[in-house]
Protein backbone atom coordinates (compact mmCIF):
# COMPACT_ATOMS: atom_id res chain seq x y z
CA UNK A 1 0.00 0.00 0.00
CA UNK A 2 2.69 2.40 1.03
CA UNK A 3 4.73 1.54 -2.03
CA UNK A 4 1.83 2.20 -4.40
CA UNK A 5 1.24 5.55 -2.74
CA UNK A 6 4.91 6.37 -2.90
CA UNK A 7 5.03 5.58 -6.60
CA UNK A 8 1.98 7.67 -7.36
CA UNK A 9 3.29 10.51 -5.26
CA UNK A 10 6.65 10.34 -6.91
CA UNK A 11 5.04 10.39 -10.36
CA UNK A 12 2.83 13.36 -9.55
CA UNK A 13 5.62 15.31 -7.99
CA UNK A 14 8.03 14.47 -10.75
CA UNK A 15 5.63 15.58 -13.43
CA UNK A 16 4.79 18.74 -11.59
CA UNK A 17 8.35 19.75 -10.95
CA UNK A 18 9.44 19.05 -14.47
CA UNK A 19 6.24 20.38 -15.94
CA UNK A 20 7.80 22.40 -18.73
CA UNK A 21 9.61 19.32 -20.01
CA UNK A 22 6.99 16.72 -19.35
CA UNK A 23 3.85 18.43 -20.51
CA UNK A 24 2.83 17.85 -24.05
CA UNK A 25 1.95 21.53 -24.43
CA UNK A 26 2.60 24.77 -22.71
CA UNK A 27 -0.87 25.96 -21.84
CA UNK A 28 0.25 29.41 -20.89
CA UNK A 29 2.11 30.31 -23.98
CA UNK A 30 -0.50 32.33 -25.75
CA UNK A 31 1.12 31.83 -29.08
CA UNK A 32 0.49 28.09 -29.11
CA UNK A 33 -3.13 28.30 -28.22
CA UNK A 34 -5.66 27.51 -30.81
CA UNK A 35 -9.17 28.75 -30.07
CA UNK A 36 -10.65 26.30 -32.45
CA UNK A 37 -9.48 23.52 -30.14
CA UNK A 38 -11.41 24.96 -27.22
CA UNK A 39 -13.74 22.86 -25.10
CA UNK A 40 -12.64 19.54 -26.49
CA UNK A 41 -13.60 16.57 -24.29
CA UNK A 42 -11.04 14.02 -23.05
CA UNK A 43 -9.44 11.74 -25.63
CA UNK A 44 -11.57 8.68 -24.88
CA UNK A 45 -14.85 10.47 -25.35
CA UNK A 46 -16.46 11.29 -28.62
CA UNK A 47 -15.09 14.43 -30.08
CA UNK A 48 -11.84 14.19 -28.24
CA UNK A 49 -8.43 14.18 -29.78
CA UNK A 50 -5.19 12.43 -28.89
CA UNK A 51 -3.30 15.66 -28.84
CA UNK A 52 -5.27 16.83 -25.87
CA UNK A 53 -5.48 13.74 -23.64
CA UNK A 54 -7.72 15.21 -21.00
CA UNK A 55 -9.47 17.74 -23.15
CA UNK A 56 -9.15 21.50 -23.29
CA UNK A 57 -10.73 24.45 -21.58
CA UNK A 58 -12.52 27.41 -23.05
CA UNK A 59 -9.32 29.01 -24.24
CA UNK A 60 -7.94 25.94 -25.94
CA UNK A 61 -5.48 25.13 -23.15
CA UNK A 62 -4.59 21.49 -22.72
CA UNK A 63 -5.97 20.28 -19.40
CA UNK A 64 -3.22 17.73 -18.80
CA UNK A 65 -0.50 20.31 -19.17
CA UNK A 66 -2.45 22.79 -17.13
CA UNK A 67 -2.65 20.13 -14.43
CA UNK A 68 1.10 19.75 -14.31
CA UNK A 69 1.79 23.45 -14.31
CA UNK A 70 -0.94 24.08 -11.81
CA UNK A 71 0.25 21.31 -9.52
CA UNK A 72 3.69 22.82 -9.69
CA UNK A 73 2.43 26.11 -8.37
CA UNK A 74 0.33 24.40 -5.74
CA UNK A 75 3.20 22.29 -4.54
CA UNK A 76 5.53 25.23 -4.47
CA UNK A 77 3.17 27.31 -2.39
CA UNK A 78 2.31 24.37 -0.16
CA UNK A 79 5.92 23.42 0.56
CA UNK A 80 7.10 26.97 0.99
CA UNK A 81 4.41 27.89 3.47
CA UNK A 82 4.95 24.73 5.46
CA UNK A 83 8.68 25.40 5.57
CA UNK A 84 8.06 28.86 6.91
CA UNK A 85 5.50 27.83 9.49
CA UNK A 86 7.62 24.86 10.52
CA UNK A 87 10.66 27.01 11.11
CA UNK A 88 8.73 29.59 13.06
CA UNK A 89 6.59 27.06 14.93
CA UNK A 90 9.35 24.63 15.88
CA UNK A 91 11.65 27.46 16.88
CA UNK A 92 9.08 29.10 19.12
CA UNK A 93 7.91 25.77 20.51
CA UNK A 94 11.46 24.75 21.44
CA UNK A 95 12.12 28.08 23.06
CA UNK A 96 8.85 27.96 24.91
CA UNK A 97 9.34 24.45 26.26
CA UNK A 98 13.00 24.82 27.06
CA UNK A 99 13.07 28.21 28.67
CA UNK A 100 9.70 28.07 30.35
CA UNK A 101 8.52 30.82 32.65
CA UNK A 102 7.24 34.07 31.23
CA UNK A 103 8.54 33.41 27.72
CA UNK A 104 6.55 30.20 27.65
CA UNK A 105 3.44 31.85 29.00
CA UNK A 106 3.66 34.67 26.47
CA UNK A 107 4.15 32.44 23.46
CA UNK A 108 1.35 30.15 24.50
CA UNK A 109 -1.06 33.04 24.87
CA UNK A 110 -0.14 34.21 21.39
CA UNK A 111 -0.89 30.70 20.18
CA UNK A 112 -4.25 30.73 21.88
CA UNK A 113 -5.13 34.02 20.23
CA UNK A 114 -4.08 32.81 16.80
CA UNK A 115 -6.08 29.66 17.16
CA UNK A 116 -9.25 31.60 17.63
CA UNK A 117 -9.03 32.87 14.06
CA UNK A 118 -9.88 30.58 11.18
CA UNK A 119 -6.88 30.25 8.92
CA UNK A 120 -8.74 31.26 5.80
CA UNK A 121 -9.79 34.46 7.48
CA UNK A 122 -6.22 35.21 8.45
CA UNK A 123 -5.12 34.61 4.89
CA UNK A 124 -7.84 36.89 3.54
CA UNK A 125 -6.90 39.53 6.07
CA UNK A 126 -3.23 39.45 5.17
CA UNK A 127 -4.03 39.52 1.51
CA UNK A 128 -6.37 42.48 1.93
CA UNK A 129 -3.79 44.36 3.95
CA UNK A 130 -1.12 43.64 1.40
CA UNK A 131 -3.28 44.83 -1.42
CA UNK A 132 -3.96 48.03 0.42
CA UNK A 133 -0.33 48.57 1.23
CA UNK A 134 1.12 47.71 -2.17
CA UNK A 135 -1.54 48.45 -4.74
CA UNK A 136 0.82 48.46 -7.67
CA UNK A 137 3.38 45.80 -6.98
CA UNK A 138 0.76 43.24 -6.09
CA UNK A 139 1.44 40.65 -8.72
CA UNK A 140 5.10 40.12 -7.85
CA UNK A 141 4.45 40.08 -4.16
CA UNK A 142 1.41 37.86 -4.45
CA UNK A 143 3.34 34.66 -3.87
CA UNK A 144 5.18 36.02 -0.91
CA UNK A 145 2.03 37.36 0.63
CA UNK A 146 0.23 34.11 0.00
CA UNK A 147 2.94 32.07 1.62
CA UNK A 148 3.06 34.33 4.64
CA UNK A 149 -0.70 34.29 4.88
CA UNK A 150 -0.93 30.50 4.88
CA UNK A 151 1.99 29.95 7.23
CA UNK A 152 0.63 32.42 9.73
CA UNK A 153 -2.34 30.17 10.29
CA UNK A 154 -0.27 27.03 10.54
CA UNK A 155 2.69 27.62 12.86
CA UNK A 156 0.69 27.27 16.05
CA UNK A 157 0.29 23.52 15.67
CA UNK A 158 4.03 23.02 15.48
CA UNK A 159 4.68 25.26 18.44
CA UNK A 160 2.22 23.41 20.62
CA UNK A 161 3.38 19.94 19.63
CA UNK A 162 7.06 20.76 19.95
CA UNK A 163 6.55 22.49 23.27
CA UNK A 164 4.91 19.38 24.70
CA UNK A 165 7.66 17.10 23.47
CA UNK A 166 10.33 19.53 24.64
CA UNK A 167 8.90 19.59 28.13
CA UNK A 168 9.16 15.81 28.25
CA UNK A 169 12.64 15.61 26.80
CA UNK A 170 13.98 18.45 28.92
CA UNK A 171 13.61 16.39 32.06
CA UNK A 172 15.25 13.32 30.64
CA UNK A 173 18.58 12.36 31.96
CA UNK A 174 20.53 12.73 28.75
CA UNK A 175 19.74 16.43 28.79
CA UNK A 176 20.84 16.63 32.40
CA UNK A 177 24.01 14.77 31.48
CA UNK A 178 24.72 17.35 28.79
CA UNK A 179 24.23 20.13 31.31
CA UNK A 180 26.61 18.48 33.70
CA UNK A 181 29.18 18.25 30.92
CA UNK A 182 28.81 21.98 30.49
CA UNK A 183 27.16 22.17 27.08
CA UNK A 184 25.50 25.54 26.44
CA UNK A 185 21.69 25.63 26.65
CA UNK A 186 21.44 26.68 23.02
CA UNK A 187 23.47 23.71 21.90
CA UNK A 188 21.44 21.35 24.08
CA UNK A 189 18.24 22.72 22.61
CA UNK A 190 19.33 22.35 19.01
CA UNK A 191 21.55 19.29 19.04
CA UNK A 192 19.97 17.14 21.74
CA UNK A 193 16.34 18.03 22.09
CA UNK A 194 15.45 19.04 18.55
CA UNK A 195 16.22 15.69 16.88
CA UNK A 196 14.07 13.96 19.45
CA UNK A 197 11.02 16.14 18.98
CA UNK A 198 11.08 16.19 15.20
CA UNK A 199 9.21 12.91 14.74
CA UNK A 200 5.68 14.24 15.21
CA UNK A 201 6.73 17.45 13.45
CA UNK A 202 7.45 15.64 10.20
CA UNK A 203 4.12 13.89 10.21
CA UNK A 204 2.44 17.18 11.02
CA UNK A 205 4.38 18.87 8.22
CA UNK A 206 3.16 16.47 5.59
CA UNK A 207 -0.42 16.80 6.76
CA UNK A 208 0.07 20.54 6.67
CA UNK A 209 1.48 20.49 3.14
CA UNK A 210 -1.73 18.89 2.07
CA UNK A 211 -3.70 21.41 4.10
CA UNK A 212 -1.66 24.30 2.73
CA UNK A 213 -2.23 23.17 -0.81
CA UNK A 214 -5.93 22.99 -0.10
CA UNK A 215 -5.93 26.37 1.60
CA UNK A 216 -4.13 27.85 -1.35
CA UNK A 217 -6.61 26.18 -3.66
CA UNK A 218 -9.46 27.66 -1.64
CA UNK A 219 -7.92 31.10 -1.75
CA UNK A 220 -7.27 30.88 -5.46
CA UNK A 221 -10.78 29.60 -5.92
CA UNK A 222 -12.01 32.67 -4.11
CA UNK A 223 -9.84 34.75 -6.32
CA UNK A 224 -7.45 36.06 -3.69
CA UNK A 225 -4.67 33.55 -4.13
CA UNK A 226 -2.08 33.27 -6.83
CA UNK A 227 -2.17 35.81 -9.63
CA UNK A 228 -4.17 34.67 -12.66
CA UNK A 229 -1.08 34.61 -14.84
CA UNK A 230 0.22 31.52 -13.05
CA UNK A 231 -2.85 29.56 -12.17
CA UNK A 232 -2.65 26.85 -9.56
CA UNK A 233 -4.96 23.88 -9.27
CA UNK A 234 -7.35 25.99 -7.24
CA UNK A 235 -7.61 28.57 -9.96
CA UNK A 236 -8.23 25.86 -12.50
CA UNK A 237 -10.99 24.42 -10.38
CA UNK A 238 -12.58 27.83 -10.06
CA UNK A 239 -12.36 28.56 -13.72
CA UNK A 240 -13.67 25.15 -14.59
CA UNK A 241 -16.53 25.45 -12.18
CA UNK A 242 -18.31 27.82 -14.48
CA UNK A 243 -18.38 25.20 -17.17
CA UNK A 244 -19.63 22.39 -15.01
CA UNK A 245 -23.25 22.90 -15.85
CA UNK A 246 -22.66 23.32 -19.51
CA UNK A 247 -21.47 19.76 -19.60
CA UNK A 248 -17.72 20.32 -19.90
CA UNK A 249 -17.01 18.60 -16.63
CA UNK A 250 -13.41 17.75 -17.41
CA UNK A 251 -12.24 21.29 -16.99
CA UNK A 252 -12.89 21.24 -13.29
CA UNK A 253 -12.94 17.57 -12.31
CA UNK A 254 -9.41 16.69 -13.38
CA UNK A 255 -7.74 19.48 -11.46
CA UNK A 256 -9.87 18.44 -8.47
CA UNK A 257 -8.78 14.83 -8.75
CA UNK A 258 -5.16 15.88 -9.07
CA UNK A 259 -5.47 17.95 -5.92
CA UNK A 260 -6.84 15.03 -3.96
CA UNK A 261 -4.18 12.71 -5.31
CA UNK A 262 -1.36 15.02 -4.36
CA UNK A 263 -2.72 15.65 -0.89
CA UNK A 264 -3.17 11.92 -0.25
CA UNK A 265 0.25 10.97 -1.51
CA UNK A 266 1.96 13.66 0.52
CA UNK A 267 0.30 12.33 3.66
CA UNK A 268 1.42 8.79 3.02
CA UNK A 269 4.90 9.99 2.19
CA UNK A 270 5.08 11.68 5.54
CA UNK A 271 4.29 8.49 7.40
CA UNK A 272 7.02 6.67 5.55
CA UNK A 273 9.48 9.49 6.15
CA UNK A 274 8.97 9.45 9.88
CA UNK A 275 9.61 5.72 10.08
CA UNK A 276 12.62 5.97 7.80
CA UNK A 277 14.23 8.58 10.01
CA UNK A 278 13.77 6.66 13.24
CA UNK A 279 17.08 5.02 14.13
CA UNK A 280 15.27 2.46 16.19
CA UNK A 281 13.63 1.01 13.13
CA UNK A 282 16.67 0.95 10.92
Amino acid sequence: MAIVAAVIAALCIFCSVFAPWVSPHNPFDLATLNLSDARLPPAWLEGGSRTYLLGTDDQGRDILSALFYGARISLFVGLASVLVSMTVGVGLGLLSGFVGGKTDAFIMRVCDVMLSFPSILIALLIDGVARAMFPNAHDELAFGVLIVAISLGGWVQYARTVRGSTLVERNKEYVQAARVIGVSPYRIMVKHVLPNVMGPVLVLATIQVAAAILTEATLSFLGVGVPPTSPSLGTLIRVGNDFLFSGEWWITIFPGAMLVLIALSVNLLGDWLRDALNPRLR
Partner: protein
Protein backbone atom coordinates in the same frame (compact mmCIF):
# COMPACT_ATOMS: atom_id res chain seq x y z
CA UNK B 1 44.79 17.29 53.69
CA UNK B 2 41.63 19.10 52.64
CA UNK B 3 38.81 16.80 51.68
CA UNK B 4 38.06 16.85 47.97
CA UNK B 5 34.42 17.76 48.47
CA UNK B 6 33.06 19.83 51.33
CA UNK B 7 29.39 20.60 51.72
CA UNK B 8 28.18 23.06 54.37
CA UNK B 9 24.57 23.66 55.38
CA UNK B 10 23.38 22.84 51.89
CA UNK B 11 19.70 23.57 51.37
CA UNK B 12 17.30 23.60 48.45
CA UNK B 13 13.73 24.74 48.64
CA UNK B 14 11.29 24.29 45.79
CA UNK B 15 8.31 26.53 45.32
CA UNK B 16 5.42 24.22 44.53
CA UNK B 17 2.68 26.76 45.04
CA UNK B 18 -0.36 26.64 42.83
CA UNK B 19 -0.36 29.19 39.99
CA UNK B 20 -0.98 32.76 41.04
CA UNK B 21 -4.55 32.82 39.77
CA UNK B 22 -5.49 29.68 41.68
CA UNK B 23 -3.95 31.03 44.82
CA UNK B 24 -5.88 34.25 44.59
CA UNK B 25 -9.20 32.65 43.72
CA UNK B 26 -9.01 29.71 46.11
CA UNK B 27 -7.10 31.57 48.81
CA UNK B 28 -4.38 28.95 49.04
CA UNK B 29 -1.13 29.80 50.75
CA UNK B 30 2.23 29.50 49.05
CA UNK B 31 3.71 26.06 49.44
CA UNK B 32 7.33 25.08 49.65
CA UNK B 33 9.15 21.79 49.77
CA UNK B 34 12.42 21.79 51.69
CA UNK B 35 13.90 19.05 49.57
CA UNK B 36 17.31 19.45 51.20
CA UNK B 37 17.53 21.14 54.56
CA UNK B 38 20.89 22.00 56.05
CA UNK B 39 23.05 19.08 54.93
CA UNK B 40 26.77 19.07 55.69
CA UNK B 41 29.40 16.46 54.93
CA UNK B 42 32.81 16.04 53.39
CA UNK B 43 34.38 13.39 51.19
CA UNK B 44 38.05 12.48 51.26
CA UNK B 45 39.96 11.90 48.07
CA UNK B 46 39.67 8.37 46.76
CA UNK B 47 36.83 7.44 49.07
CA UNK B 48 33.15 6.71 48.54
CA UNK B 49 30.40 8.40 50.49
CA UNK B 50 27.00 6.78 50.10
CA UNK B 51 23.76 8.63 50.79
CA UNK B 52 20.83 6.39 51.56
CA UNK B 53 17.20 7.01 52.29
CA UNK B 54 13.77 6.32 50.98
CA UNK B 55 11.90 8.23 48.32
CA UNK B 56 11.53 11.91 49.04
CA UNK B 57 14.48 12.10 51.40
CA UNK B 58 16.38 14.47 49.13
CA UNK B 59 19.39 12.36 48.26
CA UNK B 60 18.95 12.81 44.51
CA UNK B 61 18.55 16.55 45.03
CA UNK B 62 21.84 16.64 46.91
CA UNK B 63 23.49 14.87 43.99
CA UNK B 64 22.15 17.45 41.57
CA UNK B 65 23.14 20.33 43.79
CA UNK B 66 26.69 19.05 43.84
CA UNK B 67 27.08 18.96 40.08
CA UNK B 68 25.37 22.25 39.50
CA UNK B 69 22.07 21.09 38.01
CA UNK B 70 20.32 23.00 40.78
CA UNK B 71 21.43 26.13 42.56
CA UNK B 72 21.37 25.93 46.36
CA UNK B 73 18.96 28.12 48.26
CA UNK B 74 21.42 28.26 51.12
CA UNK B 75 24.82 26.86 52.00
CA UNK B 76 27.75 26.10 49.74
CA UNK B 77 29.72 23.38 48.07
CA UNK B 78 33.49 23.47 47.91
CA UNK B 79 35.47 21.34 45.49
CA UNK B 80 39.18 21.07 46.18
CA UNK B 81 38.97 24.19 48.26
CA UNK B 82 37.17 26.27 45.65
CA UNK B 83 33.50 27.22 45.69
CA UNK B 84 31.43 25.64 42.93
CA UNK B 85 28.94 28.46 42.83
CA UNK B 86 29.22 30.33 39.53
CA UNK B 87 28.52 33.65 41.18
CA UNK B 88 31.62 33.38 43.27
CA UNK B 89 33.87 31.68 40.85
CA UNK B 90 32.83 32.31 37.26
CA UNK B 91 36.22 31.60 35.77
CA UNK B 92 36.90 28.42 37.63
CA UNK B 93 33.50 26.79 37.28
CA UNK B 94 34.14 25.49 33.81
CA UNK B 95 37.33 23.75 34.89
CA UNK B 96 35.52 22.37 37.89
CA UNK B 97 32.91 20.90 35.57
CA UNK B 98 35.62 18.82 33.98
CA UNK B 99 36.74 17.45 37.27
CA UNK B 100 33.35 16.21 38.39
CA UNK B 101 30.79 14.22 36.44
CA UNK B 102 27.55 12.36 37.01
CA UNK B 103 26.03 8.97 36.26
CA UNK B 104 22.26 8.65 36.25
CA UNK B 105 19.76 6.05 37.24
CA UNK B 106 17.81 5.29 34.10
CA UNK B 107 19.98 3.64 31.46
CA UNK B 108 17.28 4.21 28.89
CA UNK B 109 16.87 7.93 29.38
CA UNK B 110 20.45 8.93 30.06
CA UNK B 111 21.66 8.44 26.48
CA UNK B 112 20.26 10.47 23.57
CA UNK B 113 18.46 7.88 21.46
CA UNK B 114 19.25 9.71 18.23
CA UNK B 115 22.98 10.01 18.73
CA UNK B 116 25.62 7.43 18.02
CA UNK B 117 27.75 6.20 20.89
CA UNK B 118 30.70 7.99 19.30
CA UNK B 119 28.94 11.33 19.68
CA UNK B 120 27.55 10.58 23.10
CA UNK B 121 30.86 9.64 24.66
CA UNK B 122 32.75 12.14 22.53
CA UNK B 123 30.64 15.12 23.54
CA UNK B 124 32.58 15.98 26.70
CA UNK B 125 35.81 15.62 24.77
CA UNK B 126 34.58 18.06 22.15
CA UNK B 127 33.05 20.43 24.62
CA UNK B 128 36.20 20.83 26.64
CA UNK B 129 38.56 20.68 23.71
CA UNK B 130 40.32 17.61 24.96
CA UNK B 131 40.87 16.16 21.54
CA UNK B 132 42.79 18.24 19.10
CA UNK B 133 40.19 18.66 16.42
CA UNK B 134 41.99 21.35 14.55
CA UNK B 135 45.20 19.57 13.72
CA UNK B 136 45.95 19.53 10.02
CA UNK B 137 44.99 17.89 7.75
CA UNK B 138 41.90 19.26 9.47
CA UNK B 139 38.72 17.21 9.74
CA UNK B 140 40.00 13.69 9.20
CA UNK B 141 42.83 13.67 11.72
CA UNK B 142 40.69 15.25 14.42
CA UNK B 143 37.81 12.86 13.80
CA UNK B 144 40.14 9.88 13.96
CA UNK B 145 41.65 11.07 17.19
CA UNK B 146 38.19 11.39 18.68
CA UNK B 147 37.23 7.93 17.54
CA UNK B 148 40.39 6.46 19.01
CA UNK B 149 39.88 8.16 22.34
CA UNK B 150 36.24 7.09 22.54
CA UNK B 151 37.25 3.54 21.63
CA UNK B 152 39.74 3.57 24.48
CA UNK B 153 37.07 4.73 26.91
CA UNK B 154 34.71 1.99 25.81
CA UNK B 155 37.40 -0.62 26.31
CA UNK B 156 38.03 0.61 29.82
CA UNK B 157 34.43 -0.20 30.75
CA UNK B 158 34.43 -3.59 29.12
CA UNK B 159 32.78 -2.75 25.79
CA UNK B 160 34.23 -3.14 22.29
CA UNK B 161 35.84 -0.25 20.41
CA UNK B 162 33.66 -1.07 17.39
CA UNK B 163 30.58 -0.13 19.40
CA UNK B 164 31.20 3.55 18.63
CA UNK B 165 29.09 3.32 15.52
CA UNK B 166 26.03 1.87 17.23
CA UNK B 167 22.94 3.50 18.68
CA UNK B 168 21.86 3.16 22.30
CA UNK B 169 18.84 1.01 21.56
CA UNK B 170 21.16 -1.70 20.32
CA UNK B 171 22.54 -2.21 23.81
CA UNK B 172 21.13 -3.79 26.96
CA UNK B 173 20.51 -1.85 30.17
CA UNK B 174 23.79 -2.86 31.74
CA UNK B 175 25.76 -1.98 28.63
CA UNK B 176 24.06 1.39 28.43
CA UNK B 177 25.04 2.12 31.96
CA UNK B 178 28.61 1.32 31.02
CA UNK B 179 28.39 3.77 28.15
CA UNK B 180 27.24 6.36 30.67
CA UNK B 181 30.25 5.57 32.80
CA UNK B 182 32.54 5.89 29.77
CA UNK B 183 31.01 9.27 29.02
CA UNK B 184 31.50 10.39 32.60
CA UNK B 185 35.14 9.33 32.50
CA UNK B 186 35.90 11.17 29.25
CA UNK B 187 37.16 14.32 30.92
CA UNK B 188 39.21 12.31 33.39
CA UNK B 189 37.29 13.61 36.38
CA UNK B 190 38.35 13.13 39.94
CA UNK B 191 34.87 13.03 41.41
CA UNK B 192 31.85 11.05 40.22
CA UNK B 193 28.34 11.53 41.49
CA UNK B 194 26.35 8.35 40.94
CA UNK B 195 22.58 8.62 41.29
CA UNK B 196 21.21 5.10 41.82
CA UNK B 197 23.36 3.76 38.97
CA UNK B 198 22.34 0.14 39.42
CA UNK B 199 18.78 0.40 40.71
CA UNK B 200 17.26 -0.20 37.29
CA UNK B 201 19.47 -3.19 36.52
CA UNK B 202 19.10 -6.89 37.10
CA UNK B 203 21.08 -8.38 39.92
CA UNK B 204 23.71 -10.10 37.79
CA UNK B 205 24.17 -7.01 35.63
CA UNK B 206 24.37 -4.88 38.75
CA UNK B 207 27.26 -7.03 39.92
CA UNK B 208 29.12 -6.37 36.66
CA UNK B 209 28.63 -2.62 36.86
CA UNK B 210 29.55 -2.41 40.55
CA UNK B 211 32.72 -4.40 39.93
CA UNK B 212 33.70 -2.07 37.10
CA UNK B 213 33.09 0.95 39.27
CA UNK B 214 35.25 -0.43 42.03
CA UNK B 215 38.02 -1.34 39.60
CA UNK B 216 37.98 2.14 38.12
CA UNK B 217 38.10 3.70 41.53
CA UNK B 218 41.18 1.73 42.38
CA UNK B 219 42.99 2.30 39.10
CA UNK B 220 42.18 5.99 38.74
CA UNK B 221 41.89 7.13 42.34
CA UNK B 222 38.31 8.29 41.84
CA UNK B 223 36.12 9.74 44.57
CA UNK B 224 32.46 8.74 44.53
CA UNK B 225 29.24 10.10 45.93
CA UNK B 226 26.95 7.09 45.64
CA UNK B 227 23.21 7.58 46.01
CA UNK B 228 21.09 4.52 46.61
CA UNK B 229 18.11 3.17 48.45
CA UNK B 230 19.60 -0.33 48.48
CA UNK B 231 21.53 -0.80 51.71
CA UNK B 232 23.15 -4.07 50.60
CA UNK B 233 24.69 -2.36 47.57
CA UNK B 234 25.78 0.55 49.73
CA UNK B 235 27.44 -1.82 52.09
CA UNK B 236 29.41 -3.23 49.22
CA UNK B 237 30.69 0.03 47.76
CA UNK B 238 30.85 2.67 50.46
CA UNK B 239 33.50 3.81 52.90
CA UNK B 240 31.23 6.27 54.64
CA UNK B 241 27.45 6.26 54.80
CA UNK B 242 24.99 9.09 55.35
CA UNK B 243 21.34 8.41 56.10
CA UNK B 244 18.81 11.00 54.99
CA UNK B 245 15.21 11.51 56.03
CA UNK B 246 12.93 14.23 54.68
CA UNK B 247 15.80 16.36 53.48
CA UNK B 248 17.90 16.10 56.59
CA UNK B 249 20.98 14.08 57.38
CA UNK B 250 20.19 11.98 60.44
CA UNK B 251 23.31 9.84 60.70
CA UNK B 252 26.75 9.96 59.13
CA UNK B 253 29.47 7.48 59.94
CA UNK B 254 31.89 4.87 58.68
CA UNK B 255 30.34 1.90 57.01
CA UNK B 256 31.37 -0.58 59.64
CA UNK B 257 29.99 1.55 62.45
CA UNK B 258 26.72 2.22 60.66
CA UNK B 259 25.98 -1.36 59.81
CA UNK B 260 27.40 -2.85 62.93
CA UNK B 261 26.13 -0.35 65.42
CA UNK B 262 23.43 1.91 63.99
CA UNK B 263 22.54 4.74 66.33
CA UNK B 264 19.61 6.70 64.89
CA UNK B 265 16.20 5.02 65.26
CA UNK B 266 15.51 5.53 61.55
CA UNK B 267 18.75 3.82 60.57
CA UNK B 268 17.88 0.93 62.81
CA UNK B 269 14.44 0.74 61.28
CA UNK B 270 15.87 0.73 57.77
CA UNK B 271 18.33 -2.00 58.54
CA UNK B 272 15.65 -4.08 60.15
CA UNK B 273 13.37 -3.65 57.19
CA UNK B 274 15.69 -5.11 54.59
CA UNK B 275 14.60 -8.56 53.54
CA UNK B 276 17.52 -10.70 54.51
CA UNK B 277 18.52 -13.19 51.90
CA UNK B 278 20.71 -15.06 54.30
CA UNK B 279 17.97 -15.29 56.87
CA UNK B 280 20.28 -14.81 59.76
CA UNK B 281 17.28 -14.79 62.05
CA UNK B 282 17.85 -11.30 63.47
CA UNK B 283 15.13 -10.08 65.72
CA UNK B 284 13.32 -7.26 64.04
CA UNK B 285 11.32 -4.39 65.45
CA UNK B 286 8.12 -3.91 63.48
CA UNK B 287 8.09 -0.86 61.27
CA UNK B 288 5.44 1.76 61.77
CA UNK B 289 3.90 4.43 59.66
CA UNK B 290 5.00 5.95 56.37
CA UNK B 291 7.17 8.82 55.22
CA UNK B 292 5.22 12.03 55.91
CA UNK B 293 4.16 14.47 53.25
CA UNK B 294 7.10 16.78 52.52
CA UNK B 295 4.71 19.68 52.09
CA UNK B 296 3.77 19.35 55.71
CA UNK B 297 6.74 18.00 57.62
CA UNK B 298 6.39 17.24 61.32
CA UNK B 299 7.60 19.85 63.80
CA UNK B 300 10.86 19.34 65.60
CA UNK B 301 12.49 16.09 64.58
CA UNK B 302 11.03 14.92 61.26
CA UNK B 303 11.04 11.30 62.41
CA UNK B 304 9.29 11.71 65.73
CA UNK B 305 5.79 10.49 64.67
CA UNK B 306 7.26 7.10 63.78
CA UNK B 307 9.90 6.88 66.44
CA UNK B 308 9.44 4.47 69.33
CA UNK B 309 11.72 6.63 71.47
CA UNK B 310 10.23 10.05 70.87
CA UNK B 311 9.49 12.37 73.78
CA UNK B 312 8.14 15.91 74.14
CA UNK B 313 11.43 17.53 73.21
CA UNK B 314 11.53 15.57 69.93
CA UNK B 315 8.28 17.11 68.74
CA UNK B 316 9.42 20.65 69.42
CA UNK B 317 13.11 20.92 68.90
CA UNK B 318 14.90 19.89 65.76
CA UNK B 319 18.01 17.84 66.55
CA UNK B 320 21.35 18.96 65.14
CA UNK B 321 23.90 16.60 63.61
CA UNK B 322 26.55 16.31 66.28
CA UNK B 323 29.43 14.00 66.92
CA UNK B 324 28.65 11.25 69.37
CA UNK B 325 30.98 8.36 70.09
CA UNK B 326 32.84 8.92 66.85
CA UNK B 327 29.82 9.13 64.59
CA UNK B 328 27.54 12.00 63.64
CA UNK B 329 23.91 11.60 64.72
CA UNK B 330 20.95 13.96 64.80
CA UNK B 331 18.83 12.51 67.59
CA UNK B 332 17.88 13.78 71.00
CA UNK B 333 17.44 10.32 72.43
CA UNK B 334 20.92 9.26 71.37
CA UNK B 335 22.53 12.43 72.65
CA UNK B 336 20.68 12.18 75.92
CA UNK B 337 21.80 8.61 76.25
CA UNK B 338 18.29 7.23 76.29
CA UNK B 339 19.07 4.61 73.65
Amino acid sequence: MTPLVQVRDLSKTFDVSAPWLNRVVERKPRQFVHAVDGVSFSIERGKTLALVGESGCGKSTVARLLVGLYQPTRGDVQFDGQPTDAAQNAAGVRTLRRRMQMIFQDPYASLNPRWKVLDIVGEPLREHGLVNMSSAPAGARGADALKAKVGELLLSVGLAAADVEKFPHQFSGGQRQRISIARALATQPEFLVCDEPTSALDVSVQAQVLNIMKDLQRSRGLTYLFISHNLAVVRHVADQVGVMYLGRLVELSDKAELFGHPRHPYTRMLLDAIPDIHMSGRSRTPVQGEVPNPLNPPTGCAFHPRCPHANARCSQERPVLTVFQGVQVACHAVQEGRI
